[in-house]
Subunit: 442 residues, 2 copies
């Protein structure tokens, strides 16, 4: 599949100093992972308290970041994300308290089986250990990610975009001051400050259990190719909306406009509109007018252009994540062609159908192999908050779990606990004893 | 983390012919993933029927493999695994029928939430898609893996050890003949026959969803370092048994002997015995006699040698998977030192404590971050069959799920389905509508 070739940085070995700090995070995380729900909840509340106490210092650090950004001519969209005023900081602190209030993802018993008399197996959710998170120059991200990490019993090595470096230093200091009054060691959170350190993070296997890169597709791919540590990320968001033969045109139009325009830069915005040839003559002329009215450029195949789309779509349009007010449009002979197109060009993120035909709906929902498959609603709902998870670390387009929007639940793993009374395997190999494999209540 | 350096093969790009075959598997897997429980179960039964019909041909192919192995001077242990006589084939066919009888891992609803009136979210288990499995020269493995793949709705590209090539060709032909009479397309299963093909498998991202390497640690690491496709494997099995201060010595002795000797080549056998200094004077002399009686070589630290262990353990012994009748022995000052040792040298596979102290037991079970943490029983229970999973594809030592012994459940992922009635995100952004996030029955 066409991938851009680029100059690749060299991944350095971690410095002894970085190894020491990573080891300290790991040790603190081991202790953190054994704390109870109340202690971790109180620790996250203490982090919020710490932020409140350091409010002025954090805002001043952010002003310094903004001044440097202005001097460097940072793009307005990036400045907007970098800016942390009093209201945004208060909202972020409230978000930290919301994470504290989420129910505990740890200690959940997923399996409980008597293997034999006196030999009982459990599967219990436990923390992953240490997260390595690389995120954009957004000061609110460090507060959100740090609170999700501590709530789920994980330590974290955090690396924010360099334009937010002063803000991140001030925020991390505040979070650690908060933790100092809790059962969690402040060293469970560590800030990486240089590009060399964030590259060396990729070589910390054994000390870091999951890398979460929030950033460009190129960044995610580079990380996947250069580390043995599991990576939770999404490489592409090429989402589709298919407008079926039998369709409520007004509804489909509203869904299409929302899915493209409600936040075009989001990964869950649609990039391609597929329209059944039977509904195209009715749907497309109205869609052309409606998209034109909100400033969306349409690029169509031949039949779409015959129905009013002015620009031509090239082969590359079907595989492009525009992240902008541009939408590719293709007329298809039917549901099967739509499914083929999605299977060929989609990124298994989120794809939707608008139809009033229950059979077509069921077939689409069963056949599309994406993290989200939607019926008669906007792809923009693919989000941890909207799903009711309370918070999210990101959206995963990998096939293995965690898939789709990832909340606290995606930051845990499980462990098998087996308690016996001197049971040995030889007795079962010889036939002296037999397994009962009796399910016990969860 | 001492890792052996070795000459690395070059990973070639897939040939057009391999791409075609992989695409055919993917297409068949997409159809297979939409079949119901009954159809998949019947297909696995049909695979067993196909094996029965081709019984003589399979046994003849295996005899040819054995003759070639004899000519090449293959080691006796490998010949034993390669050999497929009538009894072993019958047992393998019975195993295929057992997989057919396992309960369906697909279509399970894990989450069910009303986001708003008429907007309902579900999370449903679905197949991964296509598995790439690289396994040893064991003809029974191809039958087991193929049946697990089809039962869980996945296509598979299979590559067996070259010594078993004739057997694998005959078995795969029989399995596909069986599938021809079922709802599953025979092309859902494909055999890779050359080393070049198994290397090119690593570059089939987009067509293969999970690689399962069953083989040496070096093989697993090479694959992890050379593919963007997720890998399910275990890199090491350095399991520990810690004999605590308060302990039933007879019980601990029986557990230790079983955990080391019941099958020393298995990854869940122990490599290191940690003994509390208070129980060592009583435990170790008896252990030295008992291990000596069953031919186990002990290698101890200073205090262990003072109590009868004859050979000295070097630093490297603590990080060695002997896979043999050798056991490293260390006397520790207490539980904390044992935990530190396991955290430093363990591979997070399976670690056990023998103790009669409930507090020590609880602390150990909470603090050891391994896939399996055991109390008063042998580490040899870490196995999918023994856990009651009915079958296993292998044991995973990665931290993220699937972790530990992996059965059918580890071959599935999930998908979010959202059904609406024209719901758009803008209404929630504007405050015109609010999420209810009401839990619905599973």
């Amino acid at each position: 599949m066409s991938r851009s070739v680029q100059a690749l940085p060299v991944v350095p070995d971690p410095s002894p100093e970085l190894l020491q700090r990573a080891l300290a995070v790991r040790r603190s995380a081991t202790a953190l992972g054994q704390l109870g729900d109340d202690q971790r909840r109180a620790a996250v509340e203490a982090m919020a308290d710490g932020l409140e106490r350091s409010r002025e210092g954090i805002l001043a650090a952010n002003r310094a970041d903004l001044e440097a950004a202005a001097a460097d001519g940072l793009a307005p969209a990036l400045v907007a994300r970098l800016k942390l005023d009093g209201a945004k900081l208060d909202a972020a602190i409230a978000g930290v308290r919301q994470v504290a209030a989420l129910s505990d993802p740890l200690g959940r018993r997923q399996l409980h089986t008597e293997l034999d008399q006196g030999l009982v197996l459990e599967r219990i959710t436990v923390p992953l250990g240490v997260l390595g998170v690389i995120f954009e120059a957004r000061p609110d991200a460090v507060m959100q990610i740090a609170s999700l990490a501590i709530r789920s019993g994980n330590g974290a090595l955090l690396k924010g975009g360099k334009e937010a470096s002063r803000s991140c230093v001030a925020i991390l200091a505040a979070l650690r001051t908060g933790l100092a009054g809790s059962a969690v060691e402040p060293s469970a959170l560590e800030l990486l400050t240089s590009r060399q350190e964030s590259l060396a993070l990729l070589r910390l296997d054994g000390l870091v259990d999951l890398i979460i890169p929030r950033g460009s597709n190129a960044l995610v791919r580079f990380i996947q190719d250069n580390t043995r540590i599991p990576v939770l990320g999404h490489a592409d968001g090429i989402c589709h909306l298919y407008v079926d033969r039998q369709v409520d045109v007004d509804q489909a139009l509203a869904v299409a406009i929302d899915a493209k325009t409600q936040y075009p830069a989001a990964c869950n915005a649609i990039e391609t509109l597929l329209v059944h040839e039977a509904s195209a003559p009715l749907f497309l002329p109205r869609a052309v007018a409606a998209f034109s009215a909100v400033g969306v450029e349409l690029r169509g195949d031949g039949p779409a252009r015959a129905l009013g789309v002015s620009a031509a779509a090239e082969e590359d349009d079907w595989r492009t994540e525009y992240s902008d007010l541009i939408l590719a449009v293709k007329v298809v002979a039917g549901l099967e062609e739509a499914l083929d197109h999605i299977a060929t060009y989609g990124s298994r993120h989120t794809d939707a159908i608008c139809t009033t035909d229950p059979q077509a709906a069921d077939h689409f929902l069963a056949a599309v192999n994406s993290a989200g498959v939607y019926l008669n609603c906007s792809t923009r709902f693919a989000d941890g908050f909207r799903y009711g998870f309370g918070a999210e670390v990101g959206i995963s387009t990998q096939t293995l779990p965690p898939r789709g929007p990832v909340g606290l639940e995606g930051l845990v793993t499980y462990r098998y606990r087996l308690r016996g009374e001197g049971h040995i395997a030889a007795d079962y190999a010889s036939g002296a004893r037999r397994f009962s494999h009796r399910a016990l209540p969860l």
